[in-house]
């Protein structure tokens, strides 16, 4: 292909150039002398060849399994000295290659995944950063406790999530997962072990929270927790995306439920999920707020949909798809062994498994947009149009994220757009790839088309790795990016830590 073959075709390069490894041997020898195990065989490095997105592929020169803050600090000091890039990885759930190492060291944080201490009085937990949320939930549940909000995904790690945001169906009430962190133990890019919080080393805390792993490695975290309660679930059904989104925002503002979110089957069957932690909250909602919702119950919606398609026989294929999908999906949203007296025992397990089974696949193609309230409906509708253009079947997942005013400094250069106040809203756009074959270019073009809406509307991007290098300046502007880049250069002189993710 000639060098000018792609002229006029906008492309976003997402895979950085591989680090050539000039200082690798000296570094590797020095590291091994410290007693840190460095795995260099292809069978080891190949394990981390891609992330959940499956579009970016790269190999580290070597892998280190994180075991302690001291070990991580020693590794980072040497890496900084020898200018060797270090890529950190938890569950590897990024979608744009942010947790893929294009050379250098891949630091697998899941080796640090123990719960250190649960304080039942203060309602806090101290845990290592590489733990998966569901393993944290296991430990907490034994004590009748639960985390506040965590991604509905069984293999997200605590540290990774704090670095990018993390949303749950209760984020409209409790905020993003990163907001649950009270304090962190961080290994800085020069290999110091520092405890930080809003009171202690607050600048570092502000940069590490939602900081895309640029300013430190989270080795331990103290999180707020709460007593465990099962969920009282309600589903309302819509045929209009706009009406459903308006209702979602309405109930969030009224703060009349404990969990809320939207899941769709294309833009034909839209489900608004509403849930409660207590019978009192549920009763109050049903008495006072149910009537403001314009969604239908399951049976009336099924009858309306049947009538709609009876009058449009040429859309029979679409009707059949919706019917089959509902039949497959709905039992998995209420599996009997995860329900008790009509209440859902563990939302993360139920939703994560349903998502894996019915939305998942070998690749996670889930571009997203994070907006202020004012821009959300437009962002969802435009994103929906892009989905329609690229794929016959897709789903949207929308949630509100309560912002904490006192955390504004954490949000700078994060998944939360600067113009968001009160709540930010996120929408994920996920095609149903099934067994169809799509090329990497097709999938990447789709993602870029969604991200371009963000640039156009002035939104941000959240969740699976959040903001990407190719978009950060276009979305948030040079001034704020330059400010953070200067801070990064100061904190990480050799720019070794999670290179190419946003800078």
């Amino acid at each position: 292909m000639g060098p000018d073959a792609l002229q006029g075709i906008p492309r976003q390069q997402t895979n950085p150039k591989r680090w050539q490894g000039e200082q690798w041997q000296t570094f590797a020898t020095a590291l091994q002398q410290t007693g840190i195990e460095l795995r260099v065989t292809q069978s080891n490095t190949g394990t981390y060849v891609t992330d959940a997105g499956g579009l970016a592929h790269g190999m580290p020169h070597g892998v280190v399994i994180a075991r302690s803050a001291t070990q991580v600090a020693a590794l980072i000091q040497l890496a900084q000295y020898h200018h060797v890039p270090v890529t950190t990885r938890g569950g590897g759930l990024t979608t744009e290659g942010e947790s893929v190492a294009f050379g250098g060291v891949l630091l697998d944080m899941t080796g640090m995944s123990r719960v250190r201490h649960i304080d039942k009085e203060a309602l806090t937990v101290r845990t290592e950063g590489g733990i998966f949320w569901h393993l944290l939930a296991e430990a907490l549940r034994r004590e009748g406790l639960d985390y506040l909000s965590a991604p509905l995904n069984l293999t997200s790690s605590v540290g990774g999530t704090i670095g990018v945001g993390g949303i749950d169906v209760n984020s409209s009430k409790l905020g993003c997962s990163a907001d649950q962190a009270i304090s962190l133990q961080v290994v800085t890019p020069i290999g110091e072990i520092v405890e930080c919080s809003d009171q202690e080393n607050s600048e570092l805390f502000q940069r590490v929270i939602l900081g895309y792993g640029q300013f430190g490695i989270i080795t331990e975290a103290t999180l707020r927790i709460r007593p465990y309660t099962p969920l009282r679930m309600h589903y309302f059904y819509y045929s209009s995306l706009r009406v459903a989104v308006e209702d979602l925002m309405r109930i969030d503002r009224a703060q009349c439920c404990d969990y809320s979110g939207i899941l769709t089957m294309m833009d034909k069957a839209i489900t608004l999920l509403v849930a409660f932690d207590s019978d009192e909250r549920e009763d109050e909602f049903l008495r006072q707020h149910r009537k403001i919702l314009r969604g239908y119950g399951e049976l009336p919606f099924a009858l309306r949909t049947a009538a709609y398609y009876t009058l449009r026989p040429w859309r029979v294929k679409e009707a059949l798809y919706l019917y089959q999908r509902k039949r497959q999906l709905f039992p998995d949203l209420q599996p009997t062994h995860h329900m008790q007296k009509g209440q859902m025992l563990d939302r993360t397990v139920v939703f994560s498994r349903a998502v894996w089974k019915h939305w998942g696949g070998r690749q996670m193609v889930i571009p997203d947009l994070a907006c202020s309230i004012d821009k959300f409906i437009e962002a969802v509708e435009r994103g929906n149009a892009v989905c329609k253009k690229y794929f016959p079947h897709y789903t949207l997942y929308c949630v509100g994220i309560k912002l904490r005013e006192e955390h504004r400094p954490h949000y700078e250069l994060s998944c939360f757009p600067p113009d968001a106040t009160g709540w930010a809203y996120g929408c994920e756009f996920e095609p149903m790839l099934g067994d169809d074959n799509y090329s990497r270019d097709q999938l990447q073009s789709f993602k870029n088309a969604i991200y371009d809406i963000g640039v156009d509307l002035g939104t941000s991007y959240y969740r699976f790795g959040g903001m990407m290098k190719g978009y950060i300046r276009r979305a948030l502007g040079d001034e704020v990016v330059n400010k953070h880049l200067a801070m990064k250069r100061q904190a990480d002189p050799a720019m070794i830590l999670n290179r190419n993710v946003i800078f």
Binding site: G46, R114, H134, T336
Partner: protein
């Protein structure tokens, strides 16, 4: 494996990825032989991959290519030379396994409890060695297999303690009704009615995951009705004790650590195990009274 190693290499995903990147059998052998074949990952896999089947097949290949030669020799030496050709005439036979046989009082209760329709008799050769070889992926000679299976040809109903053996017996004796001992006892209301909220009930993990769909309902109901604790995680998978089988023969995982994790944060006063090996592992770590489910007969 994950709970103890916290190393992706010791996970089905790690094994699969390593193989995709040309790992040799020797490189993946530590992970292959650390797996308890408990089957929890089979149940979890969203793509419904037979992960334990894959690991078992890889173990066989690894041994053929002489990885872990000492293990191979040790298990081979363990294979019995028994050559009893006497046909068993009873309808119901129990293959109790060493751990249950080592507690004769409990074993007698098991035999009584399983003798509801016809009296249950104990097999002399209960195939412990064959179960171990199956788990390790080691070939069993035709001679040994014949000696084990021939007496069982006319048996109508077999109660088996070892799940690896049970799985294989489904192929070897297709006409025979096959049950696991622990799960069968867990269906007797006379026993389970004695469980209460101060009990920790230990499901035998391998048996549970083998027929997960059916059993998850049974045990969820048991927990709901009796209010007892059960060694289930939030995903409704059973946490194994890592006791018995290959891990007891050549330990890769620490059974005591597994037991401590099962007990962690649970406020219980008594432990009831449906598998004799789990009972043994529990009583080695816990100060609490530990019973076999059959012991509830007299509790």
């Amino acid at each position: 494996m994950w709970q103890q190693r916290r190393d992706v290499q010791f996970s089905p995903q790690g094994i699969a990825k390593a193989l995709q990147h040309n790992a040799t059998h020797d490189e993946i052998a530590p992970a292959l032989f650390s797996c308890l074949l408990c089957g929890a990952c089979d149940v979890l896999c969203p793509e419904e991959i037979d992960i334990t089947g894959m690991i078992s097949a890889l173990r066989k290949e690894a041994l053929l290519q002489s990885s872990n030669a000492t293990l191979k020799e040790a298990v081979k030496a363990h294979l019995a030379q028994a050559t009893s050709d006497i046909r068993i005439e009873e309808n119901t036979i129990v293959l109790a396994g060493e751990a249950l046989r080592s507690t004769p009082a409990t074993l007698n209760k098991v035999l009584t409890l399983l003798s509801c329709e016809t009296s249950a008799a104990l097999a002399i050769d209960d195939g412990d060695d064959i179960a171990l070889a199956l788990e390790a992926g080691i070939e069993i000679s035709d001679h040994r297999l014949h000696a084990f299976l021939e007496p069982l040809q006319k048996v109508k109903r077999l109660y088996v303690s070892n799940v690896h053996l049970l799985k294989q017996l489904r192929h070897w004796l297709p006409a025979t009704e096959l049950f696991t001992i622990g799960h069968s006892l867990s269906q007797l209301n006379t026993l389970t009615s004695k469980l209460n909220k101060n009990d920790l009930y230990l499901i035998e993990a391998r048996a549970y995951h083998l027929d997960h769909k059916k059993k998850v309902r049974h045990y969820s109901q048991l927990r709901h009705e009796r209010g007892c604790h059960i060694n289930l995680d939030l995903q409704c998978n059973a946490i194994p004790t890592a006791a018995g089988g290959l891990n007891a023969f050549e330990p890769q995982l620490d059974s005591a650590e597994q037991v401590r994790w099962i007990l962690s944060g649970r406020n219980v006063q008594r432990i009831v195990a449906e598998c004799a090996e789990d009972r043994r592992a529990m009583s080695q770590v816990s100060e609490l009274p530990v019973l076999h489910i059959a012991d509830l007969m007299e509790a």
